[in-house]
Symmetry: C2
Subunit: 218 residues, 2 copies
DNA sequence: ATATATTTTTAGACAAGTCTAAATTTTATT
DNA sequence: AATAAAATTTAGACTTGTCTAAAAATATAT
């Protein structure tokens, strides 16, 4: 039986593998998990013993098939619960993370199947992230960062990269949500800030904000 | 912060206090938790340090106000989740226990409040057990065991004592559910089995079965 | 009241998960 | 290629929760 801690490590490795590519370093895991490198080494050995990861001393780790499937299932649960919280329990998208972090560890295949059905098989979570299917496959939407969109092309917000409560509340304040239409009308070259049009009004956003918004162009 | 294990011990003590009355013995807790008496002693000391219980060596434990409220809240969460699973996710009453056992430990006041609202403030769980309110108060229904009902009095099934999957499936098989009307028409004195009428047909049930059904008389 | 049985506690051990500090290996720099 | 810096691992310790075996306290029976 897999422990809660092992699941959290697998999930971190899963996200890092996807983000970077290639083997994941001990320090990268330690950073993401907010723990110490020595703790990571210990855990990574256990995960290797249980065939969740391939680990070679000093060379980082990568998920096995088994590890990838297990991690994807935790992510699936996390995102399905987020949808539940927002759609059914009146949570806003900046309130769901900590609760989903707990709920993702509940063990019951029937529960997650029924939840999926109850929610009518959602494909994305409230932050625009895709929900892995039962086999761990995820749909890859061709989304790009708002900072890379050409001037005057109309695009639609389809996700966020930073999903911290602070950032999400900033977006709420400026009425930027999933599905919101955005057009970039000006870019400042000295600080890479930009002026965008949303809901027929202009807004100036920083490079950081633009970097953390995913859009789809039409 | 209270741990998962501490919550489980508090819940066990809560149920035992209610069942017996007076201080709860180390062995009684060990039995209910399926653990060893020495483990109970260790944990009970921790709970006393944290003011959840009063503990005097060799004299058993009793919950403090704080302990009672904390335990009742775990029970509240357990039962609300059970309602959710049955009402919204197509679980049957014999499938909910293990999942609720996990879900009861999720920490989020907003979650449980919203769940309560979503379920339209249920007062009883799928086994007929009352759901404590936010302050830990529970409604006391005047229910009695079916084995104590006089002959030929019509009564209604309002709960079960044993809520094991085996017993619940037995009840399902014989179409006994919460709300089912029952009339006892005969009692065998030698083994205390009885003949009851449900849905216009006769059924013979053992003393054990009768003992584990709660009914309300009219 | 004394002996016996039962219950409860203590002592010492172990696994999981984490940490600090030191040692080792790898990588980068001169 | 030698040295310095950074990353990683090891060694040893600590906490939580559990266990077994032995000791102590309480309850029961003669
Ligand atoms: Mn988690
Ligand atoms: Mn999300
Ligand atoms: Mn539990
Ligand atoms: Mn129940």
């Amino acid at each position: 039986m897999i422990t809660l801690s092992e699941e959290n490590y697998l999930k971190a490795i899963y996200h890092l593998e996807r983000q970077m590519g290639g083997a994941v370093s001990t320090n990268a895991i330690a950073d993401k998990m907010e723990t110490k490198a020595s703790s990571v080494t210990d855990m990574v050995k256990k995960l290797a013993d249980k065939d969740y990861v391939i680990y070679k001393k000093y060379q980082g780790v990568s998920l096995t098939n088994k590890g990838n499937k297990t991690a994807a299932n935790v992510v699936r649960k996390h995102r399905l619960w987020e949808v539940f919280l927002v759609e059914k329990l009146n949570f806003s998208w900046d309130e769901v993370h900590d609760v989903a972090e707990q709920l993702e560890h509940i063990k019951s295949p029937k529960l997650i199947n029924e939840l999926d059905t109850f929610l009518e098989f959602p494909t994305h979570d409230p932050h625009g992230d895709p929900i892995p299917d039962k086999d761990g496959n995820i749909s890859k939407l061709d989304k790009i960062s708002l900072s890379k969109v050409p001037l005057n092309d109309l695009c639609t917000c389809v996700g966020v990269i930073d999903s911290s409560a602070e950032f999400l509340k900033y977006l709420d304040k400026h009425k930027i949500a999933l599905g919101t239409q955005i057009k970039v009308i000006e870019k400042e070259s000295f600080d890479e800030s930009m002026t965008i049009v949303i809901h027929d009004s202009e807004l100036n956003i920083s490079k950081t904000v633009a970097n953390n918004i995913y859009v789809k162009t039409h």
